[in-house]
């Protein structure tokens, strides 16, 4: 049966007709085309290669950007697409987030006209895939310590270093790589697949985001032309501005994953009979279901309000942190609770909860860990830096 949404507070009324239409289109697309294939890909640890082109056809890639074949959607409509994709799988949403917010966005914001023409239409159509290399083996939460260097040459730049945990790395036609120049400044570079001195290795053995590719990027005397640099980028604030976009999308995506888990737990517990009663008839179970519903309702309102602030150009990065932190944390709790309520069935891929639970562990960690967002907010309200 198709998904009907979880909407205890009539939040549908907060959306415009157009936003609802976009949400419903992606809701149907996800039910018809992604739900049937997701468990198979997760089990096999493969990414559906047809997904980029399909999302491109529908207009979902870089959908909030203007021009260059992008749809130019408002933040709420964009968020609703992320919600529906992650209702199916965090890995699918991760692909779309990286493509749109972490690769197309910096090219759009910091790139030359030539770079934009070259990459944006192809990436919007899903013909080209991008990845974003910020994290390194030794620098995760603290990217300012990064060791990857970009040294000037007569003709351009030479990159040396290693990036790790890079979503879509092994698939990418182009990588946005953040490196430190000899002047000590962090700049962004576009590195094309096949460039000499650039290699990727996919990371095996993940129990999370198995339907998404995660890779290392290795740069060994990788020579780049001058035209590879994103001229508008400068300082850590450039990659952070990308993360801010992606975190916004994640705050919606997490709502999708939580709704999927709640729906599954609700229908399962109403059917499953133990001690001569559906288990949904026991107070302990009801308390858990109600807790999930309450968390989802909070998350929906947070994401929606943040979207409207963003639309008005008023969303502060700290507000994005609060939504990412809250919505991902409660989604992870909802997935664990749903897994619990499904009993043994919850540990198989016949059901979604276990997969969402494993996936959300990554979402909890990437794009700023839960701790990091706590420290960002703590600093914002106290004025005291507790990072180091």
């Amino acid at each position: 049966m198709s998904f009907r949404g979880v909407d205890y507070y009539a939040t549908d009324e907060l959306l415009t007709d157009e936003e609802r239409l976009i949400r419903d289109t992606f809701r149907r697309f996800v039910d018809d085309e992604l739900m049937p294939i997701v468990a198979g890909h997760f089990r096999a640890g493969t990414f559906p290669r047809e997904l980029p082109a399909r999302l491109g056809e529908l207009g979902a890639l870089g959908a909030s950007l203007q021009g260059y074949g992008c749809a130019g959607l408002g933040p709420v409509a964009y968020g609703l697409i992320m919600q529906e994709l992650e209702r199916c799988d965090s890995g699918f949403r991760s692909f779309a987030s990286v493509q749109g917010s972490l690769v197309m966005y910096p090219i759009h914001s910091y790139g030359t006209e030539e770079q934009k023409q070259r990459w944006l239409p192809a990436m919007a159509a899903g013909r080209a895939i991008g990845c974003f290399g910020l994290t390194e083996p030794d620098f995760g939460s603290n990217p300012s310590g990064m060791r990857t260097t970009a040294t000037r040459t007569n003709t351009g730049w030479v990159l040396n270093g290693e990036k790790r945990w890079i979503t879509s790395g092994g698939l990418a036609d182009v990588a946005v790589v953040w490196a430190r120049t000899s002047e000590g400044e962090i700049r962004g570079f576009l590195v094309e697949r096949g460039t000499k001195g650039f290699a990727t290795h996919d990371i095996e053995g993940k129990f999370s985001l198995r339907a998404s590719v995660t890779s290392e990027l290795i740069f060994e005397d990788c020579h780049l032309p001058e035209s590879a640099i994103l001229p508008g980028s400068g300082g850590l604030k450039s990659p952070l501005s990308c993360l801010n976009q992606a975190r916004y999308g994640i705050s919606w995506g997490a709502v999708g994953a939580a709704m999927a888990c709640y729906e599954e737990a609700l229908s399962y517990t109403k059917e499953r009979v133990q001690f001569r009663r559906p288990i949904a008839g026991y107070q302990l179970v009801q308390a858990k279901l109600v807790g999930m519903l309450e968390d989802i309702t909070n998350s929906q309102l947070l994401a929606w309000r943040l979207g409207r602030l963003k639309e008005a150009g008023r969303a502060r990065p700290q507000q994005v942190s609060l939504a990412k932190r809250h919505n991902v944390r409660v989604a992870l709790e909802a997935a664990r609770t749903a897994r619990d309520l499904l009993g043994a069935n919850g540990v198989t891929d016949e059901y979604q909860a276990g997969r969402h639970m494993c996936n959300l562990e990554s979402v909890f960690t990437y794009e700023g860990t839960d701790h990091i967002h706590t420290l960002i907010l703590g600093q914002d309200i106290t004025g005291i830096n507790a990072f180091e």
Binding site: R4, D17, R20, L21, E57, A71
Partner: protein, 277 residues
Amino acid sequence: MKILVTLKRVPDPEQKVKFKGDAIDFTGVNWVPNQFDEYAVEAALRLTENASAGGAGGAVRDGEVVVVSIGPKEVAQQLRAALAMGADRAILIDGDDGALDAEMVARTLVKLVEQEKPDLLLMGKLAADSENNQVGQLAAGYLHWPQATFAATIQAAEDGKALDVGREVDSGVEIKRVTLPAVVTVDLRIIAPQAIKNGKTAPDHAYPEGPRYASLKGIMAAKKKPITETALATLGIAPSLRVKTTAVTAPPARKAGVKVASVEELVAKLHNEAKVL
């Protein structure tokens, strides 16, 4: 070809029907496009494009697809969805479903056909709420137009002046040729990958099953497409109903079944109690 397509909104058929006294309670109902009408919209789009030349999705429409709905102003949402799929424009006739019957809807459509002069009035075979299955037939009668109901396939004749409509009947498939202008109502097979041949799209072209998704481009383009609002009175339709609703009751709840211990007992029960054997 110019096609007028009807599109009614109905309560989500998957939702439970609630009662308030002796009437259906529509509060909190999720309204969705009538499925057969959505199929009619898809059929109209397939009839007016060259999908082999990249025309699917409404890029180049060969002809015009006009969608019409009678309902409250909120139906604009369903009309907008049809525009996003690729229809050219929409007409919203203000009207309350409770104050309409099939005959009045047919008369209204006749008036609209006189104004719009389409080559084809294309409709779902029935609306999932009342399941009347009458409007198409009545409208064809009033218009003195040929009609083909329950279309499973449509093939445009070579000269473009007629349609060959395939209908699944008990003995097989019946092909009816209707000269245009005509009324056609569609059944669920019409959204099969190759159900429609328009003489422009390559005959072996296979569409994805079902009504197409509105792409984001389509949704953004739909913002600029016109929805004309009018009213029954403006069209000169006097409110008079042939059908009077005397009572609405929920179907009786099913009685609990019984478990039988053996085949013999089942046969005995079918013979003695159900009296079907």
